[in-house]
Amino acid sequence: MLAESLFFSAVLFTIGVVGVLTRRNAIIIFMCVELMLNAVNLTFIAFAQVYGVAGQIFVFFVMTVAAAEAAVGLAIIIALFRHRQTVNLSNINLLKG
């Protein structure tokens, strides 16, 4: 089922990209990123079936990193909201030097 997994993974990943490109709500974009991560996980699991269990272990680590990322990312969003009263990224250009 490797080819099918890759197909599903690619479609889910692309949907995540669409979300990142077309939405402006920081939380939604963040969730799109999570969706992209999950799509990649699916690839790892599919390859693990034919190349060995290391792929599953990698997914395990990706989940851990995703959890850490969610914690920090959401904390940033909360701090941002407290500061600007919005999570709309069109209104936020702190990166501009």
Partner: protein, 185 residues
């Protein structure tokens, strides 16, 4: 019960949950309300968990439900509700039609290219015999095949993960804490 015992059942379910995942994902990106979007994303996560099981990764499937659908998405929902993002100005967040078309076009191009890339020939030198993982799961259970390497070859990475989580906890606390001075003002 693994995928070499009931092949058709597994294949059928794999396709079924794959379809559910794609439909849920499409619904997820098109919802305006963050809460609704989050609920659709939970659905994607559950479908993916089911697909993992069909791919002989029962333990990872469980973790998917527990960690992603259970913990991470709950935190997302919690933050959405905490910030009370349901009002109109926040809902009107999607970009205009042209942006959507452009985004869709870029994504289609991306999809086409990913398909093209994944057609590349895979290295055959490392291929396992068919159903190796499935047989391992049948023989040793769902966790042992994963636990062995995790606590031998990948022990260092595993331990370093704990440092990462600690750093994340500290970072989240520092970021989320209300500034004392701001409070006093």
């Amino acid at each position: 019960m693994t995928h070499n015992e009931l092949p058709l059942f597994y294949v059928f379910n794999f396709y079924l949950f794959g379809l559910v995942a794609i439909v849920s994902a499409l619904a997820f990106v098109t919802r305006r309300s963050p809460v609704a979007a989050a609920m659709w994303l939970v659905s994607v996560m559950f479908s993916l968990a089911a697909m993992y099981v069909m791919l002989d990764a029962q333990f990872i499937g469980t973790m998917q439900v527990l960690v992603y659908a259970g913990a991470i998405m709950v935190v997302f929902l919690f933050v959405i509700m905490l910030l009370n993002l349901g009002h109109a100005s926040e809902l009107a967040d999607a970009r205009g039609l042209w942006w959507k078309l452009a985004g869709g076009g870029a994504s289609l191009a991306l999809l086409a290219q990913i398909f093209a890339v994944t057609r590349a020939k895979l290295p055959e030198a490392f291929l396992l015999p068919e159903n190796t993982i499935a047989n391992q799961v049948t023989r040793d259970g769902a966790i042992a095949p994963l636990a062995g390497p995790l606590f031998h070859e990948y022990l260092l990475a595993f331990e370093v993960t704990s440092v990462l989580l600690l750093a994340a906890v500290v970072g989240a606390v520092v970021l989320g804490k209300r500034k004392e001075r701001a409070h006093a003002r």
